[in-house]
Amino acid sequence: MEYYRSQVLICTGTGCSSSNSPAIIKRFEECIRNAGLENEIKVVRTGCFGLCENGPICIVYPEGAFYSHIKVDDVERIVSEHLVKGRVVADLLYKKSVTEDGKIRSLEEIDFYKKQKRVALRNCGVIDPENINEYIAFDGYKALAKALTEMSRDDVIDVILKSGLRGRGGAGFPTGLKWKFAKAPESDVKYVCCNADEGDPGAFMDRSVLEGDPHSVLEAMAIAGYAIGSQQGYIYVRAEYPIAVKRLRIAIDQAREAGLLGKDIFGTGFNFDIDLRLGSGAFVCGEETALMTSIEGCRGEPRPRPPFPAIKGLFGKPTILNNVETLANVCQIILNGPEWFASMGTEKSKGTKVFALGGKINNTGLVEIPMGTTLREIIYDIGGGIPNGKKFKAAQTGGPSGGCIPAEHLDIPIDYDNLIAIGSMMGSGGMIVMDEDNCMVNIAKFFLEFTVDESCGKCPPCRIGTRRMLEILDRITHGKGEDGDIEKLEKLAKNIKASALCGLGQTAPNPVLSTLRYFRDEYEAHIYEKRCPAGVCKALLSYAIDPEKCRGCSLCARNCPAGAISGQVRSPFVIDNKKCIKCGACEASCKFGAIVKR
């Protein structure tokens, strides 16, 4: 038996990888070898720990020492002090993981993790995703074994139905029902598809699951295949996720080699295999019918439903499509029972939800919370609040299909139905936090720009309608808004929602509608007062020099690229607003704080 007295776990998710964790791992291995400790200490590459803000992250066991923001140069010290002499390098530890008297807190006691409940992310940051045995060690493929040997196909569907699991891709359709619909039709061929075409700006939940625990998705797909009577699965994943794609490939190969995918799994006569299909990053391909069209090798465009995929899906055969996070819950439900899963969450939304926290928040990262947790708990207790003492203005959930939740709804328990009631939606789990410096009209414009770019062009309401809306927003943010613009936006939004072909178009007006609902005053300030309250929309800003503070040093005039500032040295300068291009160079260069933005 191999025995290691210490294990060094290092995150190799996309976040930590981009801040150099591969080089850090190399250095660790080098230093450990130089110290002659390679038989005593094991370096383990794991998936995401969630606290991406503090990456690269490394945890050393058995002490559980949580090192954050490590650099390649720090590694030698960790090895020579901690691993050789047993002295934890205190100044490199994540500050919140150390108690006042210098003791190391266990992960569950750290604020960021305290209120979390990791079900879909249970193995992320714990196992080596490129080693199938580590997945098996934590009960991997046990759920598949249980389903194949102890449960009928109806039993499996029944358990998923009873658990109350709803689709984590955004719409929240009951997963068990989807499986039931796809089991019903008689067909020689059926398909199981995994939607890993995560595309919302700021969302990275599915990527982290695929990078940190790819087998949990493969196993769940095989269970789904057994339940509906399918032998072939496809994972549709973005080519922009190279680490996820690589780990999926390794995982599929290892599962095939172990006989957990392929023919006669566990000697039960059940055959199931999975192939990858890479998407080139078109947002619309996250829509189920467009995704299937893309797998078929055609241009990714949606088609009207019905017929629903459960009846006529991929290659015209009955098909189920489940999101990555949905699948990541399945094995745990089979193993622990539907009652266990249903004990978490709210009445109509069971279980947990993973959110990717981003924007103006201290702990940017990945969190998994039981449904029903309030926004306030997520942002302040787990997320650590807003940086620089700024005030919370809104949280955007659901990406370009969702909406903004204002401060007045901070205490609403988060679940599918509550979010819809307040004009947003769960979406796939992106959560972008905004503070007082964000202009809500500009935010709405940002999301609409995204949908205009990503509209596939098949149906006119989405192709033309969203563009017209964007033009109006563009005018408003450029100080050319007119009376009646708000009403026009509302009318267009209503029509697009009612008539667009697919989910992308039907939800595209949501960011505008929800900001209009809660921040109508900001729209009005832009249109009627030609003023941007947050000071973001450049066209509505004007710069001036405070003559009291100006010393006449001429630095601003020398830095102005438009030659808009003039004056005599040692007396106050002035800005010519006709020439000013509002670049802010004067403000950045002034040493006396004399430039005022209005």
Partner: protein, 123 residues
């Protein structure tokens, strides 16, 4: 994979190497690994502990190091912490003693009085 037994075998053998990553609150063996400890041969003691623990599959025992506790002349010093028991401090430990500590104290449950600090002091 032909059988669930096969899956279970992989699970058990891999888990042995992963228990370290779970929260630890069981037995802990701590070896003094400051300069004084290393000079007195603590390295060999640590290795002996590792080998003996591995051989006896005592995977739930954590093996860590500590710095100098001020009794450099008694190094290598080894402490055994067990929940619900008083900490036992062994002094001038050799690799052979380490192996015996694993067998008799960790596995057998009875501390080896003649190796302890209190015994040394009483001499």
């Amino acid at each position: 994979m032909r059988s669930i037994q096969e899956l279970e075998a992989i699970r058990e053998s891999t888990l042995e190497n992963m228990t370290l990553r779970k929260e630890h609150n069981g037995t802990r063996i701590v070896v003094g690994m400051a300069t004084c400890g290393i000079a007195a041969g603590a390295r060999g003691v640590l290795t002996a502990f590792m080998e003996e623990l591995a051989e006896r599959k005592l995977i739930h025992v954590a093996l860590t190091q500590m710095g100098c506790i001020g009794m450099c002349h008694l190094e290598p010093i080894v402490e055994v912490h067990q929940p619900g028991h008083e900490t036992v401090t062994y002094v001038k430990v050799t690799p052979d003693m380490a192996r015996r500590i694993v067998r008799e104290h960790i596995e057998g449950g009875s501390p080896i009085e003649e190796y302890t600090l209190s015994h040394y002091r009483a001499k």
